[in-house]
Amino acid sequence: MSDLINHLTSIHKDVLKEIGNIGAGNAATAFAQFLNTRIHMTVPSVTIVPIEDVPELTGGVESRVISVLLRVTGESPGSILLVFSENSTLNLLEMITDYEIDINNLEEVEISAVMEIGNILSGSYLNAINQMTGLNLFQSVPAFAHDMAGAILSSSMLSIAENDYALLIETKFINGDEEIEGFFFYIPDPGSLEKILNSLGIETT
């Protein structure tokens, strides 16, 4: 559990990275289809940071960002958090609507659109993980927040807050013109790491 984070081997990390790769690849494809544009992703990284550094993960702690949080349930529970800058959100919404967006005063329908993007991305991400691992992971209804990055990041990591370190599988989605840039974090709960690794026949003891 929290111990495993401290004893992860490079093989463990590579396997987790590969899970991120397959999940994110699938999610990027779904994202691109939804927006009808090209979406690239960065090579996923397995990031282990002291819990107190979590608020800084996306850059400015006080920057105002838009985010979608989903709980992952099933055999290895966790969370998925998607974070977009305000600018990226504007560009995203302008691709799927044909009217002016006021970022300081998002309408219900615009918030729903952002949550739907969260749904699509995490759904395709988890699908890929399920196929690869044989686990059966589901996602909860998405939750939305538009506020300080630090407040959002810290509040979405509560299931792992007891630990001294946070393990995140992180990818960035970017479209060609860098109009859209989003952070995608998959955060397994304590205890879930073993189950994910064991499901692929990787020893963790």
Binding site: I51, E52, D53, V54, P55, V61, E62, R64, L69, R71, S140, V141, P142, A143, F144, A145, D147, M148, A149, G150, A151, I152, L153, S154, S155, S156, L158, S159, A161, E162, D164
Partner: protein, 159 residues
């Protein structure tokens, strides 16, 4: 010389007038500014959870029950008089709309724990900005004990 110190999540800092202590981006976490207005010693702590279950507890400032007493001890070492200490608290928000109950509850549980601990320690709360659904930044001026709360939803105010 006035010093501006940033207190990160799960950390605390004790300073003396005219230091300014800042903690950025309180969501469900709670910031507690303790102040002795005679010696002008102040401390700011950014807690994440109500109670520590960890026997080793390498990060006492992460929890309300271990962090607050520790900071009081350090304030007294820095010249504060225990009986003069008062508190201003902020945070404990519920950041995400329509999210699971765990996320909903933690801000509230943090607030309850902090208030209970302060009551048990006989420390009066002289200002607060708690709960709701938005993130906050606290700026604590040890010169006079004012605490500025900054948020996107409500702008700036002093408590």
């Amino acid at each position: 010389m006035s010093e501006t110190v940033r207190v990160k999540m799960a950390e605390y800092h004790v300073g003396k007038s005219p230091d300014v202590l800042i903690t950025i981006g309180l969501g469900s976490c709670v910031g507690i500014a303790l102040y002795d207005d005679i010696s002008k010693v102040g401390g700011l702590i950014h807690i994440m959870l109500p109670k520590s279950n960890d026997t080793e507890n390498l990060k006492p400032a992460k929890y309300a029950d271990t962090g607050i007493p520790l900071m009081i001890e350090k304030m007294v070492e820095a010249g504060a008089v225990r009986e003069n200490i008062t508190a201003k608290i902020a945070g404990g928000a519920h950041m995400f709309s329509s999210s699971g109950d765990m996320v909903i509850q933690i801000g509230k549980r943090n607030i309850e724990a902090v208030c209970q601990i302060l009551e048990d320690l006989n420390i009066p709360i002289t200002g607060e900005d708690l709960g709701k659904d938005y993130g906050r930044t606290m700026e604590f001026y040890t010169e006079d004990g004012r605490v500025k709360i900054r948020s996107y939803k409500k702008g700036e105010k002093f408590i």
